[in-house]
Structure formats: C-alpha cells, structure tokens
Amino acid sequence: MTDLSTSYLGLTLPHPVVPSAARPLSRDVDAVLRLEDGGAAAVVLHSLFEEQVVEEEAAIDHYLERGTESCAESLGWFPKRGEYAHRPEEYLELVRRAKERLSVPAVGSLNGVTAGGWTEYAARIEEAGADVVNLCSVILEEGPEKLGEIRDGLGRLARGARVRVPRPGPREHEPGLLPRARRLRTGELREAPAHPLKHR
C-alpha cells in the first residue's frame, strides 16, 4: 500500500485529504463528525470572519444604542451592555465540542481584515482545543509599492498571534503556523501565500 502520509500545518496526517474551511461542511458538530466518518485526515472548521463578527457586534451595538438617551422614561431599551460578552462564543463552542468528539485533528480558522483585531480570538480558539489556528488576513492594497506594508501587516498579525498563543505543547508543529510566524519575522514572506497565513 502506498504511504500517503504527509505533513500539513505542522500536523502529521495519514493522507492529504482534508476538507477545507467551508461552512456547510462544518456548520455543526454532527457535520464535522460525518467528515471524520467519511475518512478525513483532519478537519478545518469553517472560518470565523472578522467582518461578520464585527458586523454582528456592530448591529447589536447599533440597536442597543439606537433611541437611547432620548426620552426621560426610557433612557435605554435593553439590559445593561456590560452583560454581553460580544464574543463569537458559538464558534468557540463548536471548536470545543468538535474536539471532544473527534479523533482527528481540528483546525480553527480565522479570517480577518485588520492587522490587530484577531490576536485574542486566536488564543481563545487554541484554548477551546483546536490543534492549529489558521489565520487568514485580507489586506486590500494594490501595487508593488504596497508589498512592504502588506509584509509588515502580516508580520504584525503573525507576531500578535504568536504573542498570545503559547508555544506548542507535546506535539511539534513543524512546519505549522507558529513556525511560519517565526519565518515571517525573518522576512520569508514569499512562502506565505502557500501557507494558511494568506494574503488575498
């Protein structure tokens, strides 16, 4: 039998068939388990999109604020904002529950548009049990003169994520995101597009 084992994202996998991040495939734990039952070597969970979270939070913030401080009897419409975590808990819950049931690696996926907003979420996905955190960043710049800025932005993002995410535990992830981040720091950006740290 041909040895199909490979290494991906720092993980050693029996074969390279890994469903990519797509919400219909990993929308809930049952869907993820079906992927495993189908033979997936690992599962990349659908992405948590920064724009989506920001938009949802902004929408909630908008409606929590709208119409407030306007009428003496009803200065606000909802219970105090301090109680709302504004966190993408649903996604973290998916990671947590998926890891409880899966025997193959689970990869959390973050897709952002800003250089700095994701470091905290990356750490929390790792805390929820993800074996790897896949960081994707959209930096909408054009022109070769912007390449330096893009490199800096990605570097900041990776460094930020690296700062918050502790060094890998018993397993060595090589190459993986974190080692990628170290390489980015040393300027080897040309490897980045082929890796989960994507510029699109």
């Binding site: 119409g67 306007s70 009897e73 419409w77 909802f78 105090k80």
Partner: protein, 1189 residues
C-alpha cells in the same frame, strides 16, 4: 478603609447600597425609580454579591401592589428585603406598608419622590407621594444630594434593624435621582461596619417558620385592637435617638457628619428657612452667600421627617430666630397648611403651651409651596422667601417660583440673583435624542471624576416626544463639590449640536457675556455667520460671545464613525471650554476612549483617536462681525391661523417658555382642547414620501400603516380640483364603487417623521423605473413649501360622506378621516396605526379610556394632543386615569352611557306627547347599526333639542342635558401589554366578565415600552428584556385563550403587517358586537431592536412562524350554531428562529449565551407547535346547536 470618588446618579447611589445590604428585591418599574431596580437586576445577573457573600434575588412583579406583597412576604419569612418605587407605585404599596410597620418589621424602601397624579400625570419630582404615606407609620428619611443618597441608604438600613421601624428613604425624583455628581462610594467594609449582624439574625429569628411556629396577622375586635395598636409607642419614641446614634457612628467611620436637622448659616440668624430634599442644596447656596454678606439668615435641612422630633429641631435652630418659613414640596388642598409647615407650627405651639420652649419668644412660622413636579427652585427664589420674611406681615401659605394671578399666593423674587461662582464652568448642550450628546456628556463627567481633582455635575432634560426629541444637558465643572440643584441659566459655554435648532430655539439667551458658543454646522467658519437668524447674531454680538464651529458629521464620517458625533463634540468641548488645559483634556479623552473601546479591538480605538485629532484640526473660531447682518427672524411657533388658546398657551410651551405662564392661563380641572398637534409643525423628517399617482393601485395600505396620519387618502368630486395648486396630484378613482370620483394620496410634509413604513408596505411596482414603487422617499427641504401648499389644499377638500362608505376593506377604511394625528410616537411606531384606525372607524362617537403607557404619553402629553375633531366638531373624547384601573375606568364610561341612555329614553317616552309621537318613536326605535342610521338619529336628536329648548319644565331641561346619549356611543379601553397583561389584568378580567358593551384594544409590544423595555407577561419565550437579561424562560401569556374561555367575549388577535384586511374586519366586528370585545394587536417596537421601517415585515414573520396566530372568536357565530373560532392565519411555514433572530431582543442572547438561546428557542418552537395545534383543533370543532336567545 478604601475610599473611591466616582460619578454616579442618585438612583445608582441608592441601589448600590440597597443591593449590597439586602437578600431579596421585589420591584415594579415606575419612572423615575426604574433604574434602581434595573441596576439591582443587572448586578445580580453579573453575580455581584451582597456584603454577606450571596447574590440578591431580584424579581419583577406585576404591579407595585404585587411588589409590596412580595416584599411583605419575604420580610415575614426572614429575608432582608427592599424595593424601589415612586408616586402612584408608592401609593399602591400603602396597604402593605401599614402591615409591615404594624408588625415592626425592619425594611427600607427607596423612593425617588414623584408627583402623584391629580389634574394631570407627571413623571417629575416632588414630595406628594411620600407625604401621602405619613400615616403608615414608616420613618421618612430625606436625602438632598447624591452623596447623602448613598449615605442615608446605609444609615436607613442600619437604623431600621435596630429601631424595628421600617423606613422610606426618599430623594427628589429626577433632580436627584437622575443627577450625576461625584460621590465617595461606600466600601463594603463600611457597610459591614454599620450593619449589626446580631440584628440581622434577630430579624431572621422573628420570621415565620414551621420549626418554631406562631401566627401573625390576626383579626382583632373592638375590645383589644386599640390597646394592641398602642404597643408600638416606645419604638417610635426611641427611633429618632437611634437614627442620630447611627448617624454618629457613620461619622466616626466616614468623617461625614449628619444630624436629624442640620443647620447652615449665620449663628445669630433671625430668618430661617426649613425644608428637605434637593431644594435644601439650593437654599444652602443662597444662605451661605447671604450670610457671607452679613445677612442674618439660616437654613435647617430636615433629614428625619418621621418620626418628627421637635427637640432635635429646636436644637438645630439658633435661639435668635424670629421668623421661620417652612417650605413644602407638596400641596394639600383643603388643609390649613402643608405637612412640614404644620409639624413646625405644632412643635412650637406645643412647646409654648407646655412651657418648655427653649426660645424666649415663639417665632412666627409661615409656610410656602415650591418646586411641584420638578419646577425649578433656585437660590434666587430662596432669597425671595428670605426677603418676604423681612416684611412686617410676610405672606403665609405662599408659593414661590410661579406667577399666581388667580389666588395671588406667589411672592416676588429677583431672577438675576445668582450664587454661581466664577470658577465653575457651566455648560449647556442642545442635542437631538440619540445623537450621542448625552452619552458624551456623561462620559465627560466620568473623565473629570476619575482623572482629575475637579468635581463635575450633570443633569439632563429630555423631551416628551419619542421621535425627533431635543435633549438639553446641564454640566458644571469646578474645584469644589457642586451642590447647585437647579438648571443652568448663566452658562459660560453653550453648544448646539444640531444646526436646525438655530431656527427653533433661543439657546443663546442662557449665555453670559463673554461665553463660548460652539455650533455643529455643515457650514465653515467663513459662511456660517450668514446662516444664523437675527436673534442669534444679536446675542453673539451684544454678549461678545466667542463663536466656534465644527462640521461634526463630516468629521465623524471621515473618521469612520458613521453618524455618532459624541467623541467629536466631546473633544471640541474640552478644547474650547477651559475645563482642563487642552493637552491634559485630550490625553484624558484618549485614555477614556481606550478604556471604553479596548474590547472592540484596536481599530475602533484608532478610529476614535483619529476622530479626536481630526476634531482639533476642524474646529474653527469664527470671526464675529461687529454688527448684526441677518434680517431673518425665528419663524412663529404656530401658524397665524391657529386658535387663540393655541397661540397664547400651547405655543408658549412649544417655545420652551412654559415656565412663564401664569396660573390664570391654565384650566382649573385639567381639561384641554383636542386637535392641537396640527399646529405643532415639527419638521423632523429628513425625507418624506412622494406619491406617483400613475403607478399607484390605490390599495390604501400606505395610509393605513402610517403611524402619524401623515399620509392620507381622499376621494372627492372632480370639480373640487378647481383652484388646486399646480403641483397637486390626483388620479381617477379605480373601482366601480366610486366611479367618477378623484383620488389623492397626500403627505403632510411638516408632520411626517420619515419612517418609511408607507414605502415598505406599498405593493405597487414601477415597471418603467425598477426599484421604485408608487411612493418613494425624497429629501424634504426642497419640496417642503410645495407640499405644504398641496397639503393645505388636500385638507380643504371636504371629507367624503361617511354614509356612502362601507369601511369593511383597507381601501374604504382609509377614505375616512383620521381623528388621531401627528402624535409624538416613535417614527415607525407599531401601535399608532391601530389607534388611528379606531379613530377613523368610530372616532366621532368614541370615548377612549387610555391606560398609562406609551399611548397615554403620545396621546396626552402637553403641549399638544393628537386626538382630533372632524368637520362637524365631533371626535374622540379621551382620558387617562391611572395605570392599573384603566379597564375599570372605561367600564365606568359604559355604566354612565347605559344609565343616561336609559334615562333619556324614559324621558322621551314621558315627553312624547309634548315633543311629538313621531319624533319620539323615531328616537326610540332607531336602527343605529350603520353610519346612515347614526346620522339619522343625530338629525332626530337635533330636532329634539330644538323642541326642548322652547319648553319650560324640569323634565325638558333634564332631557336636553341627556339628549346626546340617544346617539349610539362607542367605548374603547386602550392600552399596552404592561397594563393589560400585568398591572391591570385583574380589572380587565373583571370588566370583560361583566358582559357590557366595551371594546378593549391591547397594543401588544410584548414589553413595557414606555418605561424602557422591562419584561411583561406578554414577552415571548427567549426574548431578552430588562428583568429577563438571560432570556424570558416562560412562554407568553395567552390572553386570547383566557378571554375565549368565558364564551361571551369577542376576541381577536390581529397583526396589520400580516393581514390588514383581517385587522379592519376585526375592528368592525368587535365594535358591532353588543358585548365585551378584546382585540390584541401585534405592535412592533423600538424595544425589539429592529429597523423600524421593516416593522410590518416582522409582524408578517411572527404570524408565519406561528408565534402570533391570527384569529377571531365571535360569540354570535356560536349563537348561530357555528364554531365561534376562526383561525385567520395558516399553519406555521417558517421556524420561529427565522423570525426571532432578525431581532436584537433574541439575537443578543445568541451572542452572549448561545447554549441558553438554543435551549429557549427549542422550547419556543415546541410551544408554538403545540399552541397552534390546539387552536387548530378548537377551530375545527363543529358548531353546537343554534342557541335560542
């Protein structure tokens, strides 16, 4: 021990202590006390513990009566229990207060004292509520400042445990409850030091327990009750001493010393004022200033009002006192004086009579009233009182602060007397509700409190309108604690955050010479001067104001902050006001921004930082010309054709000059004319609907759904178009029923709020211009004048003859004139379309009993009312009684109508030979089941009145006064779900059960909308609301089902956005049913957290998912042998979550607690499925045997 200065308002200060020193909190919301309960609920939800390490249990009851019952029960079972209330709410607690005091139970109620409704309701502050509970035996402890509120909350709690006398701890509603000031927050160590745990255990030891059983709450007979009642005397005798000891202990711990009566002023004062509450702070300023210039004046601040201790009062007064003025913030008509006055008089009279007065001569005591319903009470007025006291015969039972030209009670004062020091920044900010002005100002105070050594104070004045409302912030900053408990009238900084206000309000009249004026305007420093009206230019020139301008909306947009201008205006304020050195101010703002927005991510912080920097770059000082160049005056407040009453009374209030109206301007009994909103042209819509007559299919739905009657439909004879403005639109009527008529749909450009619901509901499609319908929104300013002219012409067209209209469809119903127009409801309100429909169908013969709530505020808050009259001068007769009694109130209308109609008919029979048998027969046998019948009966009644006028007999005069009752009347009982499901349900249930012909319309927003979104029993499962922060765990009460169980009540559930034809049918059927009718109308609301423009779409989904089944239960069908129940909506076709998660009230739980949201959504779905099935089963039952009646 740890000390911390923080900025907070009075409600928070009271709640802070109450939450930490109690175990059970049972409340019911009422303005202005609601925030106390909300704070407590929020803290408990966050797991904040009390000083014993447990989280207090907070629960919302169905009424204050219920809350006090729950409190009584919790106390009797041994918990430390409290509640928060005001006004009518406190009065509903009176029965239990007698019980709690009679049983010597330690408890503290915190009351933000508010006016008790008399000729009108008022949400504002005075002492009429707390004075109404004097006889309950509760202690009354009055706080005057925010620091005192925090301190006395604790002192009261510590005292009550020792004294076993329960306490009402009160402070002035709004003036103190909502004033933000700097306080030293009491630490939990201080609270523990003050509360004796032995006493807590003693309280528990007295509790009801089957482990050591006894009974309490017996019934007693004449032989023993009196003696038993007198047993409490030693407790009341000891109580003042205990209060003082507790205050002394407090002083030892905190350094702040209080006495039962505290004196301020000259040690040899001859004139002393005595009062309690926030007014004492204004008096403190006045007395200090006058004493400093040698006047022999003083002030006694009353802390402990009950039990009243004359000894302690005498100790506080200087022995030189000759004249005392006792000032009461309440009115007791018929009494020989107000409460505090009488207590002071009694104290001196008894002391003198018993020879124990410490005063060589008994001082003259006079009494006066001030500050009712938060009327301003200033140091100038205090000086006025002190000046009066110098007269040889000072006026007694006077009023101060108003001009009483009827009974001549008012005393004069010099309004220019000011004690405001020069080193205090006094800033006024004029903003639009929700534009960020108020939150920015609250943030500014926090910055000052936490980051500087300065002191800050903030007080906010809001409009009564729910859309396009103005807010006025009054901020003071200075080097010393600020006790000025009155509005700023000598501002050294005035900011106008909305340029349109320059055309409406004279804001600069409050600016002192040399003040700074900051204007948010789209015009730059070189153009803005020419945009100002003449009075504004004059004020700037004459007062030498320094004028700054900024285009805050542009800066906000460019900084990526959308339309929130708060950061920008706050920065601008700090940059030019001189509160702090600019660099320090900017650093402080940026620090605050970081703290506030850190959790949202560095980019949000960065945007706000950018906004700060851009503000400084875009803030420009305007070079003020030496003279006035504008000739433009402020437009008149009301049109010249407005009625006299509107011009001399209503207009003054609209122009913010209501304070200057004298007593004679007012009706003595609270009666006001109808149809006054038509004169208040608010011009708040940025865009208004424009009709395309060629695309329109004339369905009438735009007119039906308009919350403000600002888009209307008329049909009329074509020849009436003669003289129409050139731009006036009309179309040939489409349909056979009124073939040959013309039809116009016209917008009221100055009354529209721009909500866009008409455009959303329009079903027509413009095939030539895809995307457009028969109406589209267009900017108002360019078309305002043209549409004003068109609307005036539209109104001049006569209303179509009602007798020719069969209003059973949406279209025909909209041909009827609305008699409810241009209310102050929110833009896109879900309630008002139903109210307007009621007015169209039945308004000319309707009496409306309106519960307190949104509908009573938009329906009856001065200066204007939307309830209107038709061309014949008829229209709805409307009244708001209270909250809990609304069903009974309306029932009372029906009792009178039934009785007077019966009397009138009896008299007609008796006078038949005199008035003519034909007329008498006609009157008695009239069929008034339709408009034609009603019109004919009106003609007969007119003829009857003519005949009676010529007769000289008591019976004839009697019948003349009752003749109008011969025309059929329609009784409507109207209110929200807060009334119908909760506080008023007992009465509503009874009234429905009584079988008389009343029509109940429940405007169901599924939450207490008017008071800011507290949960009701109508709130659906899983929705977040105040007091249900974790999602309501129980299903919505099914009031329709409960009502149907009687069998003889007409019941309907309607939703205009889902099936408007069923709505119209239900209204007609309900009104025609000669018995009790109940319509429950789904009303979307801003408290659902939705785009209000799409409110009707939400209604549709609510029906589609089965959460709101449409139904009609008509007992007449049962009598005819048919199933009385008809389900008017189909089985659910979308899951509940597809409706729910489009609304913030559901979605926010999904964000904060997705597991719980999922669990509650599963329950909600199961409940919907089961409930719809139940309805389906019931609706499918065959009819019973036809009943013989």
């Amino acid at each position: 021990m740890e000390r911390a200065m923080v900025a907070m308002d009075g409600n928070e200060a009271a709640a802070y202590v109450a939450h930490r020193t109690n175990e059970v909190i049972a409340i019911y919301p009422i303005t202005p006390s609601s925030p106390m309960g909300e704070h407590a609920d929020a803290w408990s939800a966050q797991g904040v513990t009390n000083i014993w390490g447990t989280v207090p249990l907070v629960t919302e009851m169905q009424s204050e009566g219920g809350a006090s019952g729950a409190v009584h029960g919790a106390l009797q079972a041994g918990a430390l229990t409290t509640t928060f209330t005001a006004s009518q709410g406190l009065l509903l607690m009176i029965p239990n207060m007698f019980k709690i005091a009679g049983e010597l139970t330690p408890a503290v109620f915190h009351v933000s004292a508010r006016t008790v409704a008399t000729h009108a309701l008022s949400i504002f502050g005075d002492h009429s509520d707390v004075m109404a509970v004097r006889s309950t035996g509760w202690g009354l402890l009055a706080s005057g400042s925010i620091q005192e509120i925090m301190d006395f909350a604790l002192i009261a709690q510590a005292t009550t445990l020792r004294a076993r006398v329960p306490f009402v701890h009160f402070f002035d509603g709004f003036r103190s409850s909502h004033e933000i000031n700097m306080v030293e927050r009491l630490s939990e160590d201080v609270m523990r030091a003050m509360i004796d745990d032995d006493l807590v255990r003693a309280h528990r030891g007295r509790a009801l327990s089957p482990d050591r059983p006894f009974i309490r709450g017996t019934a007693q007979n004449p032989d023993v009750f009196f003696q038993a009642r007198e047993t409490v005397n030693p407790y009341y005798a000891a109580c003042p001493g205990i209060v003082q000891e507790t205050m002394d202990r407090f002083a030892e711990i905190t350094g702040r010393r209080y006495r039962l009566f505290d004196y301020v002023g000259a040690p040899d004062a001859e004139r002393v004022v005595v009062l309690m509450g926030s007014g004492a702070e204004a008096a403190h300023e006045a007395v200090e200033a006058l004493a400093a210039r040698g006047e022999k004046v003083g002030l006694v601040k009353v802390r402990l009002y009950r039990p009243f201790s004359p000894e302690h009062l005498f100790q506080a007064l200087p022995e030189t006192v000759k004249v005392i003025a006792a000032l009461d913030r309440t009115k007791e008509p018929g009494a020989e004086g107000e409460p505090l006055y009488k207590d002071v008089v009694t104290a001196f009279a008894e002391a003198a009579a018993e020879g124990r007065s410490p005063f060589a001569e008994t001082p003259l005591v006079i009494g006066g009233r001030y500050g009712l319903s938060s009327k301003e009470f200033t140091p100038a007025m205090v000086k006025g009182v002190l000046d009066e006291m110098e007269k040889e015969h000072p006026k007694n039972h006077f009023t101060v602060g108003i001009r009483d030209d009827v009974s001549h009670t008012s005393i004069e004062y010099d309004p220019d007397f000011s004690t405001e020091p020069d080193d205090v920044v006094r800033a006024m900010f004029f903003g639009l509700g929700s534009d960020g002005t108020v939150s920015a100002n609250k943030n500014s105070i926090k910055i000052i409190a936490e980051d500087t050594d300065n002191y800050g104070q903030g007080y906010f004045v809001y409009d009564s309108k729910k859309a396009g409302a103005i807010t006025i912030s009054h901020l003071r900053f200075g080097p010393r604690p600020i006790r000025s408990s009155y509005l700023i009238r000598h501002a050294n900084f005035v900011a106008c955050h909305q340029a349109v206000f320059m055309e409406k309000y004279d804001m600069l009249r409050y600016a002192v010479p040399g003040a700074v004026f900051l204007l948010n305007s789209p015009h730059g420093p070189d153009e803005v001067w020419d945009t100002l009206p003449r009075p504004a230019q004059q004020a700037i020139v004459e007062k030498g104001l320094r004028f700054y301008v900024i285009d805050a909306y542009r800066v906000a947009r460019e900084a990526g902050l959308g339309v929130r201008i708060n950061t920008i205006m706050q920065t601008a304020f700090f940059a030019v006001s001189g509160v702090l050195p600019q660099e320090e101010a900017i650093a402080a703002i940026k620090k605050a921004i970081e703290k506030t927005w850190m959790k949202k991510g560095p980019d949000v912080v960065e945007k706000n930082f950018q906004a700060v920097d851009m503000t400084l770059e875009n803030l420009h000082e305007v070079e003020v010309p030496g003279e006035v160049t504008s000739t433009r005056e402020l437009p008149p407040t009301v049109p010249s054709e407005a009625p006299e009453f509107v011009k001399r009374f209503t207009a003054e209030i609209i122009a913010q000059r209501g304070d200057e109206l004298p007593v004679s301007a007012f009706p003595p009994d609270g009666t006001f004319p109808s149809a006054t909103t038509q004169w208040e042209k608010r011009n708040i819509a940025l865009e208004i609907p424009v009709w395309d007559e060629e695309v329109c299919i004339q369905c009438g739905r735009c007119s039906l759904v308009c919350p403000h009657a600002a888009i209307r439909m008329k049909i009329y004879e074509p020849e009436l178009l003669e003289g129409a403005p050139a731009s006036f639109k009309s179309a040939d009527y489409r349909g056979k029923d009124f073939k040959g008529q013309k039809l116009t749909i016209q917008t009221a450009p100055e009354d529209c709020t721009g909500c866009g619901m008409c455009v959303e509901i329009c079903p027509a499609k413009n095939r030539a211009k895809p995307g457009l319908k028969a109406i589209h929104m267009a900017p108002q300013p360019p078309i305002r004048e043209r549409e004003k002219e068109n609307y005036a012409f539209f109104l001049s067209l006569p209303d179509f003859d009602r007798t020719r209209i069969e209003p059973s469809t949406v279209k025909t119903s909209q041909m009827l004139r609305p008699l409810f127009e241009y209310s102050g409801a929110c833009a896109g309100c879900g309630e008002t379309p139903y109210v307007k429909l009621l007015s169209q169908l039945f308004g000319d013969r309707a009496l409306v009993a309106n519960a307190t709530g949104c509908s009573s505020i938009y329906g009856g808050n001065l200066p204007t009312t939307p309830w209107a009259v038709d061309a014949e001068g008829r229209g709805p007769a409307w009244s708001n009684s209270l909250f809990e009694d609304n069903a009974e109130f309306g029932f009372g209308f029906r009792l009178t109508i039934d009785k007077q109609t019966e009397q009138a008919r009896e008299l007609v029979r008796r006078l038949g030979p005199v008035i003519g048998d034909a007329l008498a027969d006609g009157l008695l046998s009239a069929d008034q089941s339709d408009e034609t019948g009603i019109r004919e009966q009106r003609r007969r009644v007119a003829a009857l009145k003519e005949k009676l006028a010529g007769l000289d007999s008591d019976e004839a005069r009697h019948l003349l006064s009752l003749a109008d009752f011969l025309v059929r009347k329609s009784v409507w009982i109207l209110g929200g779900d807060g009334w119908a499901y909760d506080i008023g349900y007992g009465g509503l249930d009874h009234v429905l059960a009584m079988g008389r012909d009343v029509n109940v319309l429940v405007l169901d927003t599924e939450v207490y909308s008017n008071t800011g979104g507290q949960m009701s029993k109508a709130t659906p499962l899983g929705a977040v609301a105040k007091f249900a922060a974790g999602g309501k765990p129980t299903p919505k009460k099914d009031m329709a089902m409960l009502a149907m169980s009687y069998g003889n009540i007409y019941v309907a559930r309607v939703a205009m956005g889902a099936k408007d034809s069923q709505t119209v049918k239900a209204f007609l059927e309900a009104e025609s049913y000669p018995g009790p009718s109940l319509i429950i109308a789904m009303s979307h609301c801003i408290a659902h957290g939705i785009d209000m423009r799409t409110g009707l779409e939400h209604q549709k989904r609510a029906v589609e998912c089965g959460l709101w089944p449409l139904l009609r239960y008509d007992p007449r069908r049962a009598a005819a042998g048919e199933n009385p129940l008809r389900l008017d909506s189909r089985p659910p076709k979308i899951p509940v979550e597809e409706y729910a998660y489009r609304q913030t009230r559901f979605r926010m739980l999904k964000q904060s607690n997705p597991e719980e949201a999922e669990r509650l959504m599963r329950l909600a779905q199961a409940d919907v499925d089961a409930r719809y099935k139940l309805y389906q089963t019931l609706a499918e039952q065959p009819g019973r045997e036809k009943r013989r009646t």
